[in-house]
């Protein structure tokens, strides 16, 4: 084991899921409920990993809107997810090459134009006994096998269900690919520092967070996974549009459940399988499910139109990657054939 990365166990998983695709399916879910005014608490739910369960009880406090005081906002959560996922891919690749980096820091950045469109980038800083070529390969690994990188880079159909007396099904198709030359009016960054294995410490606008994978995926069960941060961002943002500004104590409050699925053959094996988070579904349970009005569906439609985190996940974004090795920028070739367009399964009619 090097850098807390159990390469043998990873190879064993890759072999196993290569033989049995059912065992490669990881279903993840989170549930958000309002807490104090303007914020909510997102709880992770047991995952389904093939024919087993992964049960971890973590809570992520989220602010509904942008800006951050003492807990993450939805865009901040996405940045943490991106940084954690990239760090995991990079350190796994470096460990496979026998490198032990003294420092690995990922700095994801999201910029927004006035019309709400966004642009994503991240910088990878590496110090230690790593050659430029090894570092470039690690960057390639993050691009090729990073779940968060792919989820944000590719277009995603996000579906929503409003669970009232008569369920309302809504879909939010992705917009056209964003332009790299947008004029940014807003900018958010995070600093994600690799600790050991899949464990990272993150900081977004002064708010600290941690991410780790379950031990079934070679982590140490120390914190929510990158994918759970992803879903937490969506659940919290949706709840922010649907929940009243401050629910009175004792009054039933709306709640949001967000779920998604990963085919582990994408990030963990060399098989040509989708890498990103898929089948993203957001379910809104209004405060009064018996009410058949349009208020709750309208709230979801507003979220589809205005949600920053949702647009980052839903719409395709070319992601710029920079590499800094021992304090010196290292040119990273633009991916010529990087799986960003050919790994998604064809869309099927419902």
């Amino acid at each position: 084991m090097l850098n807390g990365v159990d390469l043998r166990a990873r190879r064993s998983l890759a072999e196993q899921i290569g033989e049995d695709s059912w065992e490669a399916q990881l279903s993840i879910g989170v549930a958000a409920q309002p807490a104090a005014a303007g914020r909510c608490r997102v709880r992770t739910e047991p995952m389904r990993l093939g024919s087993t369960r992964v049960a971890r009880a973590f809570a992520i406090d989220q602010r509904f809107g942008s800006g951050a005081a003492d807990c993450l906002d939805p865009v901040g959560s996405l940045l943490v997810a991106l940084g954690a996922s990239v760090a995991d891919s990079v350190v796994t690749e470096l460990s496979g090459a026998g490198c032990g980096p003294a420092l690995l820091e990922v700095t994801p950045c999201a910029e927004f134009a006035a019309d709400g469109t966004g642009r994503l980038s991240y910088e990878i800083r590496l110090d230690g006994e790593v050659s430029a070529e090894q570092a470039r390969r690690a960057v390639d690994a993050a691009r090729a096998r990073g779940t968060a990188h792919h989820t944000l880079e590719e277009a995603n159909d996000i579906k929503a269900v409003v669970q009232t007396a008569r369920d309302v099904h809504l879909a939010s198709p992705p917009a056209a690919p964003g332009h790299a030359d947008l004029t940014a009016v807003g900018r958010r960054t995070a600093r994600v520092m690799w600790e050991i294995g899949t464990h990272v410490l993150a900081e977004v606008d002064g708010v600290h967070a941690e991410s780790d994978q379950p031990k079934q995926l070679f982590g140490a069960d120390l914190a929510p996974s990158a994918q759970e941060y992803f879903l937490a961002a969506l659940a919290a943002e949706a709840l922010g549009f649907a929940a009243p500004p401050a629910a009175a104590p004792g009054v039933p409050a709306a709640s949001v459940h967000a779920s998604g699925r990963i085919d582990l053959r994408g990030p963990y094996s060399t098989q040509d399988a989708p890498v990103g988070l898929r089948n993203i579904l957001v379910q809104l349970l209004p405060a009064d499910p018996t009410e058949a009005g349009e208020a709750a569906p309208d709230a979801v439609r507003r979220w589809f139109a205005e949600g920053d985190a949702l647009r980052l996940v839903r719409d395709p974004h070319p992601i710029e990657v920079r590499l800094v090795l021992d304090g010196t920028p290292v040119p990273v070739p633009h991916p010529g054939n990087d799986r960003t367009t050919d790994t998604k399964e064809p869309h099927r009619a419902p």
Binding site: E45, P46, R48, S51, A55, F58, P214, K215, Q216, D221
Partner: protein, 349 residues
């Protein structure tokens, strides 16, 4: 604990006695790898910790007794796991205990001392349908009688006493199962510490080679002793499973091992003579007996013991490899004597 390195049972015999025992035990269960662990409580604790996450839930057999029961209720709670105890001889009861965060079902294949077989086939189906892992303590049957992996379990744990180590020289346990789970269990065992000495592993290896022969003799002996006890008026109940009572076991079991328990009528308070009759003497591989209410279940209150069916008149008997007919004779005589003295003094044992 040694570092775990997967091997196959078919590979060339290694020099390390512990590895040879692991390979032999894995082969007995039809598995590829196994782990030799210093103690069944450590083995079970490590297994349950390895297969669950903080926040996970375990369904465990209510026949689990101390010290493991204490570990499940106290130590595992400290690690963020919750445990629900259920009657695992009823698969539907196991199913009703499943929660969203449930990860593992843990049961003995045959409960001790009440000798109730768990319907592993049925529990395994429920476990698979709910994405749960079935962990089986097969100590009371051994691979000579039952191979739980074939019934759908993913991990099997066995104490070396009373069967794997017929001479009772070694205090250890073995864990085997599906390959993908064993490295995690090995890592957890390493955190708990401890190692089985090479000499103990060597003794265990020699004993394993005679397991099937010994179990055949013990199974037949236990059946004959059970027959004797059932026919005696001083015996209220004999706890010894049979294929007539559990016909589903025909698919999975070779037999029910050499353990049985029986309850004498409540009027008999002095069990000293009966215990003495069960004692096979200092010779190895002999029969042994104990009173669960005074030994394995002594830590429980009378009320809890009664709820579990552990009466003061319950005798747990491990029938030895030889001398079953002589044991039957001694028991018959002791029971006759006890019956004759039924109006006599207080319980003394």
């Amino acid at each position: 604990m040694r570092h775990f390195a997967p091997t196959t049972a078919a590979a060339t015999a290694p020099h390390d006695p512990a590895r040879r025992v692991e390979d032999a035990f894995a082969a007995l269960h039809g598995a590829d790898t196994a782990l030799l662990v210093p103690g069944v409580v450590a083995a079970t604790t490590a297994t349950l910790l390895a297969l669950t996450n903080p926040g996970g839930h375990i369904i465990a057999s209510d026949q689990t007794c101390d010290p493991l029961r204490g570990v499940l209720t106290q130590e595992l709670a400290g690690h963020g796991r919750t445990v629900t105890f259920v009657d695992s001889t009823d698969a539907d009861t196991v199913l009703t205990a499943v929660r969203p965060e449930t990860q593992v079902v843990y049961t003995q294949s045959l409960s001790d001392p009440l000798m109730r077989p768990a319907p592993l086939n049925e529990i395994a189906v429920h476990a698979q349908m709910n994405d749960l892992l079935l962990v089986v303590d097969n100590t009371a049957l051994s691979p000579a009688e039952l191979r739980p992996l074939e019934a759908g379990a993913v991990i099997v744990i066995e104490d070396t006493a009373p069967y794997l180590d017929g001479w009772d020289d070694v205090g250890a346990a073995l864990v085997t199962g599906i390959d993908r789970y064993l490295p995690r269990i090995a890592e957890q065992c390493a955190r708990l510490g401890g190692e089985v000495p090479d000499w103990s592993a060597h003794l265990l290896e020699r004993s394993l080679s005679t397991l099937e022969l010994r179990l055949t003799a013990q199974r037949d002996g236990a059946d004959r002793v059970a027959g004797t006890l059932r026919a005696h008026p001083a015996v209220r109940a004999v706890h010894r499973p049979s294929f007539d009572e559990a016909p589903w076991a025909l698919e999975t079991h070779q037999g029910f091992g050499g353990l049985l328990s029986f309850e004498v009528v409540p009027e008999i308070h002095d069990l000293t003579g009966i215990l003495a009759a069960c004692d096979g003497g200092p010779a190895p591989l002999g029969s042994t007996a104990r009173l669960p209410a005074r030994t394995s279940h002594a830590h429980l209150s009378e009320r809890v013991r009664r709820e579990l069916g552990i009466t003061r008149q319950l005798v747990r008997l491990a029938v030895g490899v030889t001398g079953a007919d002589a044991l039957s004779g001694r028991l018959r005589q002791a029971l006759d004597t006890a019956l004759a003295q039924r109006d006599g003094g207080d319980e003394r044992c």
